[in-house]
């Protein structure tokens, strides 16, 4: 990673469109490798990690150039651990909390306004949680992305790795050794990020070739298959990123090795589905 910037583009940007601004440089405290990023539209801030320095950074939403973060969570009280494992971060802007998964098989929850060397406000961890977040290794070892549904008060945590596993669904405020209240049995394949569309209780991933839409159960174990929408990326790798633009009914994909950002129109993610599902299936390609 030769230039760990955060580049900001107009939604309408296309090939060779320059970025509008970029957050970069020593003062930004940014470094490799940002495997996740979250925008807090209520407070107009963005949250990202600085993995090589075991830190969580919050910037102004309009941050530009060599700008310092508003806040940085870092230090021995934080329990932040790992490097690849520190690449993922999520925010609940409604309840003012930042979530970080740990290779110590724990979910750390910080106050959104935490700054400096502060302890997590709660920790979800223990054998009953069924958390299996991967282990920090010498060269890699990332934990999965986690997401919060602030409407239904859910915390979603994948387990089982990139090849596809379960998604554990906890109460948003779960702490200690609390079991999940629901499970998507899967296998749910995903890259670096997945997304949820809370109003419709849907989980969305891109699995290298298909966008998959899963129903999120609020209790019990769901074995329901996902809706699959073919959306191949061309040059890419497994570390795919994803975010939703509900207003325009678009799904935005970061292709990792493809070095590009692809926007797909996918109203199926956001719309009501008619009985039997929204799609008909054609014959396989091959």
């Amino acid at each position: 990673m030769n230039h760990p910037q955060i580049a900001i583009f107009a939604r309408s940007a296309k090939e060779d469109t320059p970025y509008l601004r970029s957050i970069e440089g020593q003062k930004s405290l940014l470094g490799r490798t940002m495997h996740d990023i979250a925008f807090d539209a209520i407070h107009d801030e963005l949250v990202v990690t600085s993995p090589l320095a075991q830190a969580i950074l919050s910037f102004r939403g309009a941050a530009n150039g060599e700008e310092a973060p508003l806040r940085a969570i870092q230090g021995d009280k934080t329990q932040i651990k790992g490097v690849g494992a520190t690449g993922k971060v999520s925010i609940d802007p409604i309840h003012n909390e930042i979530f970080l998964a740990s290779p110590d098989q724990a979910i750390l929850v910080f106050d959104r306004m935490a700054n400096g060397n502060v302890a997590p406000k709660r920790i979800l961890s223990g054998p009953d949680t069924q958390l299996s977040l991967g282990e920090q290794r010498e060269g890699g070892g990332n934990v999965p992305c986690i997401r919060i549904d602030p409407i239904h008060n859910l915390l979603l945590v994948p387990v089982g790795g990139y090849g596809g596993g379960k998604v554990l669904i906890f109460d948003r405020t779960a702490s200690g050794n609390t079991p999940p209240k629901a499970v998507i049995q899967g296998p749910v394949r995903m890259g670096n990020q997945f997304e949820i569309y809370a109003p419709k209780l849907r989980l969305i991933t891109h699995t290298r070739n298909n966008i998959e839409i899963w129903k999120i159960p609020e209790s019990g174990v769901s074995t329901e298959a996902p809706l699959k929408i073919p959306a191949p990326l061309g040059r890419q790798s497994g570390d795919i990123g994803i975010v939703l633009d509900p207003l325009h009914k678009e799904v935005i994909i970061a292709t990792a090795a493809g070095n590009n950002i692809m926007t797909f129109s996918v109203p199926e993610v956001f719309d009501d589905w008619p009985a039997g599902g929204p799609l008909t299936s054609a014959a396989p390609v091959r």
Partner: protein, 451 residues
């Protein structure tokens, strides 16, 4: 003109995000589309930082490959290429085929169609300039004396391009050219964890003549020609690894510099001073022990000076650091043995800074010369190369698909002598370097992309 949003508008927009279902009017109901599901996952190359397997530990197949390379480096090269190929051509072909059969096509794609030049080298024997393209996974070879394009939309034509699945080139970031043979050494900053070596005349989609398995997160290269050793910086876990220059396969480093005393906090650029037997390493200051929670901290950027033969957990002899140094994401470095100058590509400083008498410097010292300003055409310079034969300084500009060349002793806001340009004159690159995450700002309707 952008209308400044009020706080209330921001809150309303935010609420819209979580309650957007209300907006889904009946006339926006789902439509029937053709669906052809594609296979996912396991058959695709996945040698990246987040893969389920440890990139720094070779798979059983890789062990077999590298073992075979050691025994018979030539007959297995084709096999090597096939095994670790990035598989780009096949991925693109499958995507095109699927789209032709009804798969969804992106409505917009943000990408750079021009090269992103991460590193540069000069081969004075062939009078050629080599440029690493971190974006399109290739390196390009230009005539050293290629004139600056005259029209604003004109580009410089390369003499040769090395690109394709057989080359194994991915996210190539560090470059070294053997001053005798002209062999080109290339390392990558992510994914493949290897150094590939090509003969000077290599062209097209060709297999490297040697492949060396390296640690993950390599940044840059330098060499000690007297000892025939090649040095690589590893960003994290931070270290400098030193190999035989001819190393290949699974060959282990001759030695490493690593440990808490080294001060190698996110090492990047590296330069060798054979005359004074010194090693210069630039660091960005990100520090932590990944095995221990809460050990993260930041130090100021610095250039650390070690004995060239340093090994293990050694303290630097001297440290150049402080506001007066102007260091800001310091990238590649080169040392001029004829006068002791150390050249630093200073990415965010939009400059090349030159420290005179670098072997003796310590502390918060200003550079002796700073090449900076609009006339220089520098934009995110991350590569430097010295041509001592022709007394020229070459710079690769990550941010505008160009290489610019100056007199070796240039200072200030000086125009380049010549420019190699691979995009229009007004080019501003997107500087993507593996786009593995994304988020969206609904307030400004903007897409945020971290590298």
């Amino acid at each position: 003109m952008r209308v400044r949003r009020t706080k209330l508008e921001c809150v309303i927009l935010s609420a819209a995000l979580v309650a957007i279902g209300v907006w889904a009017a009946p006339d926006r109901a789902s439509r029937l589309v053709s669906v052809q599901q594609l296979p996912d996952g396991s058959d695709w190359c996945m040698a990246d930082e987040s893969s389920a397997t440890n990139p720094s530990s070779p798979s059983p197949d890789e062990k077999i490959l590298f073992s075979a390379l050691r025994r018979d480096p030539y007959s297995t090269l084709v096999f090597a290429a096939q095994f670790t190929t990035p598989n780009v051509a096949e991925q693109e072909r499958q995507a095109a085929e699927a789209r032709a059969h009804g798969a969804r096509t992106p409505v917009r794609t943000i990408r750079d169609t021009a090269p992103t030049y991460s590193a540069i080298a000069v081969d004075v024997n062939s009078n050629e300039v080599i440029l690493q393209d971190n974006n399109l996974w290739e390196y390009l070879v230009f005539d050293r004396l290629a004139p600056t394009p005259t029209r604003s939309d004109e580009i410089t034509q390369p003499k040769r391009i090395v690109k394709g699945d057989k080359t194994l080139i991915e996210f190539n970031n560090g470059l070294y050219v053997d001053p005798v043979s002209g062999d080109i050494f290339s390392v990558e900053s992510d994914t493949g964890d290897k150094m590939v070596r090509f003969p000077r005349a290599a062209e097209g989609d060709v297999a490297p003549k040697a492949v060396l398995h390296t640690p993950h997160r390599v940044y840059n290269l330098a060499a000690d020609e007297a000892r025939q050793e090649i040095f690589a910086t590893i960003e994290f876990p931070p270290q400098v690894v030193i190999y035989r220059k001819d190393a290949s396969g699974e060959e282990k480093p001759l030695r490493t510099i690593e440990g808490d005393d080294t001060g190698l906090d996110a090492p990047h650029g590296i330069a060798v001073d054979e005359k004074d037997q010194l090693l210069f390493v630039s660091t960005w200051g990100h520090h932590s022990n990944f095995r221990i929670a809460g050990t993260g901290r930041w130090y100021p950027p610095a250039i650390k000076v070690y004995p060239l033969a340093a090994k293990g957990n050694v303290k630097p002899l001297r440290v150049i650091t402080g506001d007066r140094t102007q260091l800001d994401w310091p990238a590649a470095m080169k040392f001029n043995p004829s006068n002791g100058d150390l050249y630093v590509a200073n990415d965010i400083g939009q400059s090349v800074i030159v420290f005179a008498n670098a072997a003796k410097l310590q502390g918060d010292v200003p550079p002796a010369r700073v090449i900076h300003g609009p006339s220089t055409r520098l934009r995110n310079p991350t590569g430097v190369a010295l041509d001592l034969t022709h007394q020229e300084l070459w710079v690769s500009n990550l941010g505008n698909s160009s290489a610019t060349v100056y007199p070796l002793m240039a200072n200030g806001d000086v125009p380049p002598l010549r420019i190699i340009r691979s995009a229009e004159e007004s080019k501003r690159g997107v500087n993507f370097g593996r786009t593995a995450a994304v988020t969206y700002d609904p307030i400004r309707q903007e897409i945020l992309v971290p590298n």
